[in-house]
């Protein structure tokens, strides 16, 4: 298995944009919509998921020869659940305020399809180094998406970002944005924006190709 530099770089960068877990694959939405009513919560959830995803990918990639095929899914789930328990207790000890805010959604990281999906699709088939890079890229992409969603909802819903007031006292907050419907609507509109970008780029590439044909 080649492990050259550009290869690893590709694996890292694909999680950030082209195969972004949220905007391109629409995975791991359950925990993300519930907690992204502010940028701080989004960041905390993203960080927790980051740790769980990277640690489980590392362990699965290391242990893959010893995990029998028939019980692989259960094994992955137990590995993930172990790391989530660690995260849960750590957050409770270090930042009790945020832990209280995120509540039951920390244990629910176990059921994040993104993490299980990466184990099954990538970590169980690739060498440890590549699996680590892939997990880092995906987790960063997820963190980025959570932060984007949390920021949009906090700016519109409370007129603030990271608790800092942005618009002054005259701003009438859209309370709906921090409530559940706002989560669905914001993600829907962000997805729309991303598919519009993708289509525009494709059209641009087609036009460039046409111009090249004409020019030659």
């Amino acid at each position: 298995m080649p492990k050259s530099q550009p290869d690893a770089y590709q694996e890292f960068i694909k999680g950030l944009w082209r195969e972004n877990p949220v905007f391109a694959q629409v995975l791991g939405m359950c925990p993300m919509l519930a907690v992204t009513n502010s940028a701080v919560n989004g960041l905390a959830m993203g960080a927790a998921t980051f740790f769980v995803l990277v640690a489980s990918s590392l362990l699965v990639a290391t242990l893959k020869q010893w995990i029998p095929r028939q019980v692989r899914i259960s094994s992955y789930i137990i590995i993930i659940a172990t790391f989530v328990t660690v995260t849960d207790y750590t957050l409770q000890a270090l930042v009790p305020a945020i832990h209280k805010e995120l509540g039951a959604f920390i244990p629910l990281i176990v059921a994040n399809c993104l993490i299980l999906g990466r184990q099954e699709a990538f970590a169980s088939r690739q060498p440890v180094g590549l699996a680590l890079v892939d997990a880092l890229g995906m987790a960063t992409g997820f963190l980025f998406a959570l932060l984007a969603l949390g920021s949009v909802r906090e700016i519109l819903g409370e007129g603030a970002l990271f608790g800092v007031d942005l618009f002054g006292p005259n701003f009438e907050p859209w309370v709906i944005m921090v409530l559940p419907p706002g989560g669905f609507l914001t993600l829907g509109l962000l997805l729309l924006f991303f598919s519009w970008l993708a289509e525009r780029r494709q059209k641009l590439a087609e036009r460039l190709a046409e111009m090249e044909v004409e020019g030659s």
Partner: protein, 192 residues
């Protein structure tokens, strides 16, 4: 008795698992293409929820008082085995349904609604009867959301929607409007 009705209505409508807690979104967006499949997946989920509520109560009462840090792992193992069992039953009883549900049947295991149910019920300190009522309300609420969504999506199939909007973006916006409608139920108990 009054308490139980409140728990049931709360899980069914006011704090609907899908539309207020965002739990179980993967099947909610994945299987809501056709009304019939949506209904059956909803009922299968309801069944798993009831069994999970029973098992998590047993675990909480008899095992986990000695080892609380094993809670998450033991819940997941119980849910995974229940799903495996249901999968075998459905495969035997109704092969057509088995094919229609496809990958989403084993994926009930990673349906956060079910794990969420066990965790919420534990956090709220529900006993056996309250836990089962909660599971019934949550399962029916999940089915309700899934069926409503499937009905709406069948309508959008024939509606003149811009091509760019089709797919997940449209579904999420529909879900947002549905969720807004369900927020109306929040006033239901404020008077009581």
């Amino acid at each position: 008795m009054n308490e139980l009705v409140w728990i049931f209505i709360s899980a069914l409508l006011v704090n609907n698992f899908v539309l207020a807690y965002f739990l179980g979104l993967c099947p909610f967006l994945g299987v809501s293409g056709r009304l019939e499949t949506a209904l059956r997946l909803g009922l299968a989920t309801l069944f798993v929820m009831l069994i999970t509520a029973l098992c998590s109560w047993l675990l909480n009462t008899y095992v986990l008082i000695y080892a609380p840090y094993l809670r998450l792992i033991s819940f997941i193992v119980v849910i995974a085995s229940t799903v495996q069992f249901i999968e075998m039953v459905i495969k035997r009883v109704s092969p057509g349904l088995f094919r229609a549900l496809g990958i989403f049947l084993p994926l009930i295991t990673t349906n956060c609604a079910i794990l969420g149910l066990a965790i919420f019920a534990t956090n709220k300190g529900y006993g056996l009867v309250e836990g089962m009522t909660y599971a019934l309300g949550a399962g029916l609420g999940f089915t309700l959301a899934l069926v409503l969504m499937a009905g709406l999506r069948e309508e959008t199939q024939i509606a003149p929607v811009p091509r760019l909007l089709r797919g997940t973006a449209l579904n999420l916006i529909i879900a947002g409007i549905l969720s807004m409608a369900f927020m109306g139920f929040a006033g239901l108990f404020s008077a009581a």
